[in-house]
Amino acid sequence: MNIIVCVKRIPKTAEADILIEKDGKDIKRDHLVFALNDWDGYAVREAVLLKEKFEGEVTVITIGPEESKEVLTRCLAMGADRAVRIEGPSSSDGHLIARILAQAIKGQSFDLILTGVQAEDDGWGQVGVALAQILGLPHASIVTHIEIERDKAKVRRELEGGIEELLEVKLPAVLTIQTGINEPKYVSLSAILDAEDKETKEVGMEEIGFSSKGPLDATIDQVSFPPTGKMAEILKGSPEEVVGQLTEIIKKKKG
């Protein structure tokens, strides 16, 4: 069973100070820590688990700048066999990314393509399902469980309200992977060091035969901090003072 996993390198913003670029079109990125998109980590792990069961190869692909190599190395350390980086546009226009990925994947032999449900940074949640349509393959999104039965995958999709649906998808297919589908495995430093010796194939857009960029579907005009409508009343002081106020509030509201 050959599996292709699409992965993205993203900036970690949950705990970071966010600053906006002068042109107002994006956030400043220099001071941010980058990592493998959380959803993609689960997708790579799932591919490796399937490979262990059914044999075959796992190939990871990313479109991105040179620095993206570090997330590919991580994927190799997690058990992927091959890694490809496509030197591509920094734009995260979902249709464009999906079209480039489709061009790179076309003609390769695979049974399954996995992507994350969404990228942590701009959260389009679009690339996997768009890619399936371009390649003319069936898809299932927000997948929380996969069972392979000959030429079919029985998958569970997560719906709202704690309910899931069970469906059957013919292979080859594209599945977008939801967090929690498997137990992440600790990736040791020595595994990463070993992976650094493995080769990452680097290709340009021309090499994969991608030419017509066409107009972008979506462009960012401006980014801004969300309006602070109703904001919490921030409790101030030393931890003891803050906790003092907090216990009063809890007592009162507990009723």
């Binding site: 913003t13 949950a14 705990e15 100070d17 966010i18 979902g94 249709h95 999906a98 940074d121 701009d122 389009w124 949640g125 679009q126 399902v129 768009a130 399936a132 349509q133 371009i134 069936p138 898809h139 299932a140 999104s141 927000i142 709202e160 704690g162 309910i163 899931e164 649906e165 069970l166 469906l167 059957e168 998808v169 013919k170 967090t179 137990e183 107009p215 579907d217 979506a218 462009t219 960012i220 005009d221 401006q222 980014v223 801004s224 901090f225 969300p226 109703k230 904001m231 919490a232 009343e233 921030i234 409790l235 931890p239 803050v242 906790v243 907090l246 216990t247 509030i249 809890i250 507990k254």
Partner: protein, 322 residues
Amino acid sequence: MNEIFILVEHRQGQIRDLTYEMLGLGENLANQQGISFTAILLGHDVKNFAEDLATRVPKVLVVEDENLKNFNSILYQKALSSLISKHQPCLLLMGHSAFGMDLAPSLSVEMDFPLATDCIGLLFEGGRLKATRSIYGGKVNANISLRESKEYIATIRPGIFSPKMPGEKKGGIVMEASPLQGAVDLKKFIEYIEAPITGEDITQAEILISVGQGIGGPEHIPLFEELAKNLGGTISCSRPVVDRNWLPKERQVGISGKTVKPKIYIAVGISGAFQHVTAMRGSDTIIAINKDPRAPIFGVADYGIVDDFQNVIPVLKEKIKG
């Protein structure tokens, strides 16, 4: 420009709330453009849905087919692309939900319409669709422009727009012939799987102390368990805490977990993603403890503490005990 289509989302015999929110948004956009808005209902035995919708919209287009009973993106896509080709709406709205996320991207590729996902604001400007999206975990809003096109697709974040209420006037119900020819082999719906009812029922708790990825690791869970005990409360959590097996699934608050409305909700190390917030914003009093002053959770909380939880929680635990 003629009309705006809104795809009705229903499951297991119920129209989902997000549908009404999209109708509210669709009406506003339609009024601004001086055009009409239409509910698109795909399903089987959905007469009662059509009646309900007709009290809220000028027109309901219905495709009845037993193969549309449960959502299946391939069949929905076929039915929709045929309706779109016939009526040529300028915009199709659907939910940024498990259904919409499975359908909008493939439909937009097939029709070659620009797509904006997870929108929290939409407007037409100079004939082009512009959208506001919330990115970087809700810390930044982005205003985007879509390329020029006669037709657009947008998926809408739940819980943002006011729902369209029933009115006096009744809209028309128009039946359309189904373009489907039976089921498809490529993708088959089999069944719904309900979550097993086990363990603690967090929806019954009066005080929830809810922990997120920001608590750093499972080694801190006992601290929060003790605090919960001293407070007479119950522990709940955000999704990553469950994904990483720090707490069991039944403790998860969010769209894919439980919706809770306790008297007091204390969120610790939770950033405030919409998938979490939608399911707890109905709590009477919300307290957030987070070291990042820009964390979106402070936008829904009543009281906030900007600090490392390790400076606050141990002190709180002792104080409550005393």
